[in-house]
């Protein structure tokens, strides 16, 4: 959707000194300036106040590729909804109201916005970051280590260090749906040997039990489902990820588990390696983990950045992947995966909270769905775009010269034609929303967007 390209050029005049605030990356990649962005006008000229120059530096429109703003606040924690606009722009917001004509939202960065409904592609409700249940390791004492095993453990600078063969376990109160993350490091020229048992009831070692095991060593990585009844070990995933694939001897592991659905997802170094289903109907109900280290020759392994999070509802991801369906209708998805097509009438206050009022073609009167039960809304499209395929936003950029992409704290992304920067505020012109005003500390980054004509010039 957003295309960026390194551009030729740049002229720079240096001198003086001042406390740096913002970082500008110039075309070519290597050049950078720091200072305070004063303005970006309609022609894309960036005005920068820098300690390096007595006068503000004016950089022509194609000189700046990216601006990173170093004074920023955290994202709005109350913004639990996501609006995607017709041109692909994204805003984290709090939904204030919805009627036949417009959607009213609010966020700390943008304040209150009234968005025409025909500018909205979809709305996700109840989007929350995964809640952290445990973050560590914090000490040796919080782990259960039997007798001589303890001797082989050490704790240093937030890491558990294991020498040779040893084990430790901990009840982490794993939720029904959880994310488990950790980083494993091993010594150079050593072969790691590591097992993680999770959803572990922490029963007596040796007895068949219902739990999962991830194992990583010289032969690669696998995930097993151990069962207390029937076949004991059931392979879920086998990967040829041998240690030599990780030249920095570090492996970041993330496992997402949805015990209600019997599904697991494995990520290694940020890459999704697979989604798999537990074939055994009764999923493990344990709440603990067990670490088993068994490197040859008493090699040392290190485990750190160990986190457990509550896995947030992924309904939005599923719903966004669905067919758009009838573009002339609104579509409402509940958290239970019901999907209705019809007309979204608006929101209303009721005794027990707010509701979305929706009129299906198959009803005599509108239904009212509590806000807490609504996951996703697709908005009807008026006029163009009747091919049933959602546009990718490529044609939604500003007309004329190359625009900018504003990246907000909390994940918002907006294409704007013009930005002006004041002491505390940013003023921007948006093709769908018109004039916008942001708190300056709500903007994380500004990136240059290329258009086809500019790309042709570059060729």
């Amino acid at each position: 959707m957003y295309r960026f390209k390194w551009l030729a050029i740049g002229f720079l005049v240096f001198g003086g000194s001042a406390a740096p605030a913002d970082e500008l990356r110039l075309s070519g990649g290597a050049d950078r300036l720091t200072g305070r962005v004063l303005s970006i006008d309609r022609d894309g000229v960036v005005e920068l106040a820098s300690e390096l120059s007595a006068e503000p530096i004016r950089l022509r429109r194609d000189a700046v590729e990216m601006v990173r703003f170093n004074e920023h606040a955290d994202g709005d924690p109350d913004a639990d909804a996501r609006v995607e606009l017709r041109n692909g722009d994204l805003l984290p917001v709090v939904v204030k109201d919805l009627d036949e004509k417009s959607l009213t939202v609010e966020s700390r960065e943008s304040g209150r916005l009234t968005i025409p409904r025909d500018a909205v592609r979809y709305l996700q409700m109840g989007v929350r970051a995964n809640e952290v249940v445990y973050s560590g390791p914090k000490s040796l004492d919080e782990w259960v280590m039997e007798g001589p095993e303890r001797e082989r453990w050490d704790f240093r600078r937030g890491s558990l260090l294991a020498e040779g063969e040893t084990r430790a376990s901990k009840d982490l109160s794993l939720p029904v749906k959880f994310v488990l993350r950790f980083t494993l490091e091993w010594e150079e020229k050593q072969v790691p040997g590591f097992e993680l048992f999770f959803a572990d009831p922490l029963s007596e070692p040796g007895d068949p039990t219902d739990r999962y095991r991830l194992r990583f060593g010289g032969a690669g990585l696998d995930v097993i489902r151990e069962a207390s009844v029937g076949k004991r070990y059931n392979k879920l995933l086998v990967l040829n990820r041998t240690p030599n694939r990780y030249p920095d001897h570090t492996l970041r592991v993330e496992i997402q588990v949805d015990r209600r659905a019997g599904k697991l997802w494995l990520f290694l170094n940020g890459e999704l390696e697979g989604e798999f289903v537990d074939p055994i109907p009764s999923v493990p109900g344990g709440s603990g983990v067990t670490l088993v280290c068994n490197t040859p020759n008493d090699g040392t392994q290190e485990i750190h950045d160990f986190q457990v999070l509550r896995l947030a509802d992924d309904a939005h991801r599923r719903h966004r992947a669905e067919e758009r369906g009838d573009l002339g209708q609104d579509h409402l998805f509940s958290r239970d995966d019901d999907r209705w097509g019809g007309r979204l009438l608006g929101m209303a206050e009721r005794k027990d909270g707010r509701v979305f009022r929706f009129m299906s073609d198959f009803q005599d009167s509108p239904m009212e769905v509590p806000e807490s039960e609504v996951a996703t809304l697709f908005f009807a499209e008026s006029g163009e775009g009747g091919d049933g395929q959602a546009d990718d936003g490529e044609d939604g950029g500003p007309a004329g010269g190359g625009g900018w992409v504003l990246r907000l704290q909390g994940g918002g992304v907006l294409q704007v034609e013009r930005c002006e920067f004041g002491e505390t505020e940013v003023f921007a012109e948006h093709p769908l929303l018109g004039e916008l005003r942001f708190g300056r500390d709500g903007v994380a980054m500004l990136e240059r967007e290329m258009t086809d004509s500019t790309e042709e010039d570059e060729k």
């Binding site: 392979k235 879920l236 995933l237 086998v238 697979g274 989604e275 798999f276 289903v277 537990d278 074939p279 992947a321 669905e322 067919e323 369906g325 009838d326 579509h331 509940s334 239970d336 995966d337 019901d338 999907r339 209705w340 097509g341 299906s360 198959f362 009803q363 005599d364 009167s365 509108p366 239904m367 009212e368 769905v369 395929q389």
Partner: protein, 482 residues
């Protein structure tokens, strides 16, 4: 009775196969109480009665129904039957159907698993196999060389309504060169003995390679019948899904301008695929050429999905299946396989089958638009023939024409019982399957006693096959010739 048969001297278009492997062309004349099956041949003076216990199946009129049902609508029963007909009433106790083949039927509600007023979301482009026509066997450019080395190719054999692989060295495919559309559902019943190692090709264009070109280019050295590298040379530009007992692998296959075959694995292979132990499964593949989505269902449960055309720009792949054909090939040795009940239809885009959304407490309605779905309770039909539905957020009335499927709550269904001794199945074209005990009948009508809806006179003008050797044991159900 001694029958003097003259080879070729029969005018009937029906075929009867016996449990011992014998077969007889002729005309089905009906069934007697006994039960016995009456058969006529021109070279035999009088019709002959055969013991039904010795008959495996009868294919009627070369597998083509004489009359068309005109609609795909059916009701699915707990026992697996698909009862074609138009729903006329629903209440707490029963579902009433009006059928062309059997008149009005009353089905106990707890025996009804699903209502399908508009199943599959679209047209059926193929259902079979009831005859061999339209299918062909495909070997690759290694054929000549293999024969020179004395390696004989195995063959697919057609029997009844199924293709059988005879278990020799794998590598020869059985294919249909057309039938799929851009958004297709391809479903079939798969049965196997020993280890399963079968590959399914879909959206295949069967682009061929001149063997001489391949030979001259010296590319032949890696082409071996039955191995995975042979797949592009069998199916051309296609997708090929390899199915093992506990593993799946999806490939893109292609043939470039130089005649080189290429094989690329499609990411998101799923290692959680588990086939049951009984040696048979129902497999359904849904593929959308435009959206690049491919979804697999096993026994109506969602198993895996692949998405071409998504992801980062540099990772996006063009949909590799350039054709409209599909086919099967066994890749292992001594791995007998049977493929039957193949249905190719248009797909309405529904991402999940209703079966995989089925819950114990709620009825699930899937609409024919391919997107909308509801969970709640079906109350019945109103005076206008609309389904009255109590959803979790209000009451709905759905015209039957707008409903694809309704799956009833699992906790209201009866337990499935095994087929009773002496039962048979009548297969109606294109989707019907009716189980019952034969009570008698003639060439045009067969009286059946169904355990679900009682006695019915089945108009055989709508039928394509009579299955008499019913069993859940895959060994008994296998044609002994193979």
């Amino acid at each position: 009775m001694l029958m003097m048969l003259t080879a070729g001297a029969c005018s009937g278009g029906d075929l009867m196969r016996f449990t011992n492997g014998d077969q007889l062309h002729g005309s089905f004349m009906g069934m007697n109480d006994g039960p016995g099956l009456v058969w006529r041949r021109d070279d035999v003076g009088e019709p002959v009665e055969f013991k039904t216990t010795e008959v495996r199946h009868v294919v009627l009129n070369d597998g083509r129904a004489r009359k068309g049902l005109g609609s795909l609508a059916y009701v699915g029963l707990v026992n697996g039957d698909r009862v074609p007909g138009r729903i006329t009433a629903i209440d707490g106790d029963s579902v009433k159907l009006e059928t062309l083949w059997g008149g009005e039927l009353r089905l106990p509600r707890d025996q009804v698993e699903l209502l399908a007023p508009n199943p599959l979301g679209g047209r059926v482009y193929y259902h079979g196999p009831f005859v061999k026509e339209g299918w062909k066997m495909v070997d690759g450019p290694w054929q000549e060389e293999a024969e020179e080395e004395g390696l004989e190719a195995g063959e697919w054999a057609f029997s009844g309504s199924a293709w059988y692989w005879d278990g020799k060295d794998g590598g020869v495919a059985i294919v249909r060169e057309s039938g799929m559309v851009d958004r297709s559902v391809l479903s079939f019943d798969l049965a196997w003995k020993n280890r399963l190692s079968v590959a399914l090709a879909f959206h295949a264009d069967f682009k061929t390679v001149d063997p001489e070109e391949v030979k001259d280019a010296g590319k032949r050295r890696n082409l071996v019948r039955g191995e995975v590298g042979s797949l592009p040379y069998l199916f051309g530009n296609s997708y090929v899904l390899q199915i093992y007992s506990n593993y799946l692998m999806l490939y893109r296959t292609s043939i470039d301008e130089d005649g080189r075959g290429r094989l690329d694995r499609v990411r998101a292979n799923n290692n959680n695929f588990r086939l049951n132990e009984i040696g048979r499964a129902h497999i359904e593949l849904r593929c959308n050429r435009h959206a690049g989505t491919i979804a697999l269902f096993l026994d109506d449960e969602f198993v895996a999905q692949w998405n071409e055309g998504e992801g980062m720009l540099q990772e996006r792949m063009e949909y590799a299946g350039k054709g409209d054909g599909f086919g099967f090939v066994v890749q292992g040795d001594d791995a007998p396989v049977r493929v039957s009940d193949v249905i190719v239809s248009e797909w309405n885009g529904m991402p999940d089958s209703a079966r995989s959304l089925q819950v114990e407490e709620y009825d699930v309605v899937l609409m024919a638009n391919g997107t909308d779905r509801y969970a709640g309770t079906v109350d019945g039909l109103d005076e206008d023939g609309r389904v009255v539905f109590e959803g979790r957020h209000g009451k709905f009335r759905f015209p039957l024409d707008d409903v694809a499927e309704i799956r009833f709550a699992g906790n209201g269904l009866a337990e499935r019982s095994d087929e009773a001794v002496g039962e048979m199945k009548v297969r109606l074209s294109p989707l019907g399957v009716i189980t019952g005990k034969p009570l008698g009948g003639d060439a045009g009508s067969l009286h059946l006693a169904s355990a679900v809806f009682g006695e019915v006179a089945v108009d055989l003008g709508y039928a394509v096959m009579l299955d008499l050797a019913l069993t859940n044991n895959i060994g008994d159900d296998w044609d002994v010739s193979f």
